[in-house]
Subunit: 342 residues, 2 copies
């Protein structure tokens, strides 16, 4: 056993540097009208993806993201030995319906909007631990299935608060392998649950920001780095409210995140798209990672990136029962291959 | 990277043999009246665990299982580097509420009733991969929170069908470490999703049995073993209907599971307890593992056990939309220490 992988309580390094073999993003119409439109592999104009229900549309979107990632990576579904998948739907049915014909050994996850970072963490650990040659991480969210489940039926036309985020209709999939020329996963920082006492389900940014602060602080401390050691630090999805809180929490400690910091929920939409505090949903950070971020790393725009997925681990039931919203954040450090001592 | 851990597409061996440092089970009143009553660490007589809602009771039950497992193992919560947790509640809030004060890096899972086997698989892989010195796997289910969510409010007094299973009020927790004298995890067989086309949410045994058959077949084939190479093969939870189907599926291939085979849903209750096809719920197999099975292994009753958790990956929404029920099964081979070539 190589105990030297453990850098700190939350952080492990992955000496074998699992490689991003391929990735794909699939989004709905509104996301396809946003500033990242050119980075997505597939934009569905009516967001139904040809299905009769929003839940089936979400599953279809996830199947498509996997199909395209597999094609782009050159890795056949038959070669993939572990799939890590999850979504926001009750009992994560978007993922189980999407993967039921794949034949791939499957681990179901629930990490709310942190699911992509959680899945990528576990998929990379499965490779580095010697348990698989190829793994996949996938997630999705759908505005219409999420609104119905978490808030109101769309037909109700409920008013949204200024702190509310817009659940993205989006899916992202990453396929990892042991060898190749893509970006590599250098380390994983696993979050503990942080509950800041926020009870407003329309202010998830505030509920998740303290968890992001906890995990990023642990990452910097345990790896002896500071924000300026990275080209890009991106949370997903704190939105504008949560991102502001995160910056303030670090400023209070004398640390400025500065221009290297951004958030997937902010990146996904332009201010004119009327999404209030920004995008959210498992699919938001997944589609931004599996387009904008990984493309930018392939193109040399960024060489060392922190992808920090943030999740609000509440349910409509827990909120109705007066419980505050537990937050979590998982961080993955992704490097261009040449930047690492491979 | 040690690629020789990969025995087959679904199966990996764990050369470092992660050790069961401790385990605990907590159950409700009805489970405490069943044949396994002496194996549980805590039985709550009113199943509310002192809380005001069933969901909070479930979280409390999970906290208690963790507390007792930590005490029994001698491993402090501060030493545990990764927690793998999940449950049946929408957005898995039983687990997130239970773990929010633990300070342990946390991976949320959704595997329905297979969650204990899924968590145990990942917790063991995290140890064997060199990513942690101590890990924990935990899950729970509660009859009252599950009935409300999946079927009818209890007050409705709905009739149950003969194939229906009884969601156990139960939680189980296992703590793993790198060294010690407990039983060890020898191999992991990860299931792929198998959908047999069953649409009846009151017949989960039939929906899950083909997945159990798939995973156990893969285990036997990939490790070149047969049922008679094990002292105990236990599924959790097919109940009497699903267990019969599983036996028949193997018989059709000329393989008899024989007397080494049993099911946690059958073990949990006596026929006089009126639970129809048996127990179910994440907590059922977890509490049977973390009592009856692991105690039996500590006492020398069994030396080589297959713990095969089975899950039905549907939701009330997916069933209402006419979708069939995807099943999954994850198997973990647990050995008495002296039986392995440690």
């Amino acid at each position: 056993m190589e105990t030297n992988k453990i850098i700190g309580k939350h952080t492990v390094r992955l000496p074998s540097l699992p490689v991003v073999k391929g990735f794909a993003s699939v989004v709905g119409k509104k996301e396809g009208q946003g500033p990242l439109r050119s980075s997505f592999d597939l934009i569905n104009e009516d967001t139904s993806f040809g299905e009769k229900t929003w839940e089936k549309a979400e599953a279809k979107m996830q199947s498509e993201a996997f199909r395209i990632a597999s094609e782009k990576s050159g890795v056949s579904p038959l070669q993939i030995e572990r799939m890590f998948a999850g979504d926001l739907l009750n009992q994560c049915v978007g993922s189980s319906l999407a993967s039921r014909e794949s034949g791939i050994p499957y681990f179901g996850l629930y990490g709310a909007c942190s699911t992509m970072a959680e899945g990528l963490s576990l998929a990379a650990m499965a490779i580095d631990g010697g348990f698989a040659s190829y793994t996949a991480a996938i997630t999705s969210s759908h505005f219409c299935s999420a609104e119905r489940q978490y808030r109101m039926p769309l037909e109700y036309g409920g008013q949204r608060t200024p702190t509310a985020q817009w659940t993205c209709t989006a899916s992202g999939c990453v396929i990892l392998g042991t060898q190749g020329n893509g970006p590599v996963i250098q380390s994983i920082t696993t979050g503990q649950i942080v509950d800041a006492g926020i009870c407003d389900a329309n202010n998830m940014g505030a509920a998740m920001a303290p968890a992001a602060y906890s995990t990023l602080s642990n990452l910097f401390t345990e790896t002896s780095t500071s924000p300026q050691d990275y080209d890009l630090i991106v949370t997903g999805d704190l939105g504008s409210v949560g991102a502001r809180i995160l910056r303030d929490l670090f400023s209070g400690e004398g640390v400025e995140l500065g221009e290297v910091y951004n958030d997937c929920g902010i990146l996904m939409f332009s201010p004119s798209q009327d999404v209030h505090a920004g995008g959210s949903g498992c699919g938001c950070s997944a589609a931004v990672l599996c387009g904008h971020i990984l493309e930018g790393m392939m193109n040399g725009r960024w060489r060392k990136t922190v992808f920090a997925g943030t999740g609000a681990l509440h349910s409509p039931t827990s909120v109705a029962q007066g419980e505050s919203i537990p937050g979590i954040c998982h961080a993955v450090v992704i490097c261009s291959e040449k930047e690492t001592s491979r």
